[in-house]
Amino acid sequence: MSVTAITSDDKKTVDIHVAEQFDYSAHQSFREAYRFVDQPGTLFRVNLSKATYMDSSALGMILLLKEHADSLSGKVVLFQPNSAVNKILSIAKFDQFVSIEA
């Protein structure tokens, strides 16, 4: 699996870790990581520290996650993108609607 998800004990936070190549191949497992989470107000933390590459379909997956989080009145935070991944996020101006933390 290229994506792993860990739910905190209080079920309020889901940590999603993505692998080196964050692209279409992760589509299925990324979706599986959050689709059954229905706890209102859940915080989804996408840990990008391992990702060395990210393409536009990965951006699409983040939008889908955000849609899911919004429906739960939850939140999405992107964690620790490396400089290459951060560049892609900033070209797409994702900082305008998703929190990104170093």
Partner: protein, 573 residues
């Protein structure tokens, strides 16, 4: 019979290849009991020949035969069958793991060693025939899919990209990763001769990524043709894509408007930097300033970069597939290599800008498979030069409207305060004219007249910008940023626009009156051609009135210059 694909497979025929007559008889009996028909070969050569002649649906193959053995025959038959699946079961008394491995390596599908119970071989035959049938179905479905994709591809390129204009100077290159590219390249003229160029990159590639391409192209073309500015075209495309595309599918896009006077207005939403090169040197880059379209319900403030482009300059737009193209070592092509190719004099003397980049890119990736669509657009600064000239003023006499039939309509609009920053009355007026009077080249001229007069009223009358600011290239940029700023905080002033159309015997007359709330200006020197140079009008300003005077039958200023009335007459070709 030279090729294997001439005959369809014979569904009930089983070929038995064995040099021993006794074995042939035993296998025939079993095959016949299964309701199938047997054909025979007694060595490898014969097996290949019989395969070609009869196209059996399955082959039972002995290993040791004279002339040519079963392993070699299998290799040849599998080669001849190419994409067709012909199941081959080795039936042999020979023992040893090497033999089995060789047989399977040669293309055999199963192996059974003598002696064996008949039920076992029967089971293998039934199972393999079932697999062959599934294989056949998959192959047929795949063929249907392939055909459909090809038809759709033709439709796509025909409908979307064949209407592009300006291709005598603009160089476009597209290299899809699959049949369908997620990249879209569009160009269209505004009625005044300005050129809008769009490079878009939909999420992913292949058929699904092109779903948005049709509405994108339609919106872009229709709105550009009606004279809308790029801001409005982009906002409309965003609204349309937001409504149509599922979450996760969106469009990274950059738009360049190259205006007739050499001004380039560049906007980037999610693509790599759009770059301007002058004599091989990078002089400007426009980075993404907005999320891709189709994500947010409406666009934020759109910030355009404005620069003055010389005829010998080049604007380069690229998709991320260019920079992210990988070679076998996993390195990416990157910006540094692209610059090297563009600035290298050796390349520059030999190739165009696009070819320089492509040649270098090709050299870099070699045979390594392409993962993303690659798109490049090179817009030379001379792309909107005089070639697209205004339609000549008509020769029709205004006074020859001696017909008694009265056919006149009026339309007007007054904008006050904030609405001046929001509404484009020129596009609305033009769309009225087109809707009521049909299509025609003369509307290009009317668009130019309306635009010049309206911009004068808004810029100088309401926003009180000094035209002389535009005398130098630096002032030129300052003029536009000042304009943006004043528009943003605008809360006073008004401009009214009145259009009257009268049908004439062989054409029409358009009367336009524009009135602004400003204090007017000293218009006399501008109308007097002889004085133009005496009062020092620079190359970058004051051409508006001159242009309008050249196009219209009459131009009259009143109210100290705050009101202008013009008459334009056209004839139906």
């Amino acid at each position: 019979m030279t090729t294997a694909e001439k005959l369809p497979s014979n569904p009930n025929l089983v070929l038995i290849a064995d040099d021993m007559t006794l074995n042939q008889r035993l296998l025939e009996k079993m095959v016949t009991n299964m309701g199938l028909v047997a054909e025979f070969a007694s060595n490898g050569f014969e097996a290949v020949e019989k395969y070609l002649a009869h196209r059996p649906s399955l082959i039972l193959m002995d290993i040791n035969m004279p002339e040519m053995g079963g392993v070699e025959a299998t290799r040849q038959i599998k080669h001849l069958a190419a994409d067709d699946f012909i199941p081959i079961i080795f039936v042999s008394g020979a023992e040893g793991q090497d033999i089995i491995r060789n047989a399977i390596d040669a293309g055999g599908d199963d192996f059974i060693q003598r002696p064996f119970p008949f039920e076992l071989l029967e089971g293998k035959i039934v199972a393999l025939r079932r697999i062959a049938e599934l294989y056949q179905q998959v192959a047929e479905l795949n063929q249907i899919r392939q055909d459909e994709v090809e038809v759709a591809e033709q439709l796509f390129s025909g409908a979307i990209e064949s209407s592009n204009v300006g291709l005598d100077t603009i160089r476009m290159h597209k290299q899809p990763a699959t049949t369908f590219s997620g990249d879209v390249q569009l160009t269209a003229y505004r009625p005044n001769g300005d050129l809008n160029i769009l490079l878009g990159d939909f999420t992913g590639h292949g058929l699904t990524s092109t779903l948005g391409a049709l509405p994108l192209a339609e919106t872009f073309r229709a709105m550009t043709a009606k004279g809308y500015a790029a801001e409005e075209v982009i906002a409309q495309i965003n609204a349309k894509l937001f409504r149509l595309l599922p979450t996760g599918l969106f469009l990274a896009v950059a738009v360049v408007t190259l205006e007739v006077d050499g001004t380039a207005r560049i906007w980037n939403g999610g693509l790599p930097d759009v770059m301007v090169f002058s004599h091989g040197e990078l002089v400007k880059r426009v980075s993404s300033s907005h999320p891709p379209l189709g994500i947010l319900p409406q666009v934020n403030e759109l910030s355009f970069e404005i620069s003055n482009i010389q005829p010998e300059d080049h604007i380069l737009m690229i998709s991320d597939g260019v920079l992210e193209a990988e070679n076998a070592e996993g390195d990416m092509f990157g910006e540094a290599r692209m610059f090297a190719a563009i600035t290298d004099p050796q390349y520059r003397n030999k190739y165009s800008l696009v070819d320089s980049v492509l040649t270098s890119l090709q050299h870099f990736v070699r045979e390594f498979p392409q993962r993303d669509d690659i798109s490049l657009i090179d817009i030379p600064g001379n792309s909107v030069q005089s070639e697209h000239s205004f339609t000549a003023t008509s020769q029709l006499d205004i006074n020859d409207n001696d017909s008694d039939e009265l056919d006149i309509w009026d339309w007007g609009l007054e904008l006050q305060g904030r609405s001046l920053a929001r509404i484009d009355p020129v596009a609305q007026a033009l769309s009225r004219l087109q809707e009521s009077e049909g299509e025609g080249d003369h509307w290009h001229t009317v668009f130019s007249i309306l635009t010049e007069l309206y911009v004068n009223a808004l810029d100088h009358g309401v926003l009180k910008l000094e035209s002389s600011l535009k005398d130098s290239p630096e002032g030129f940029a300052r003029y536009f940023s000042e304009r943006e700023q004043r528009l943003e905080t605008l809360s006073w002033g008004s401009v009214s626009l009145h259009v009257q159309h009268a049908r004439l015997a062989a054409g029409g007359r358009v009367f336009i009156r524009i009135e602004d709330s400003g204090e007017g200006f000293d218009f006399q020197p501008w109308l007097n051609q002889e004085n133009t140079y005496n009062i020092g009008i620079g190359a970058l300003s004051g051409r508006g009135i001159e242009l309008v005077s050249g196009l219209c039958e009459s131009v009259e200023y009143s109210n100290h210059g705050a009101t202008v009335e013009v008459v334009y007459v056209y004839s139906n070709a």
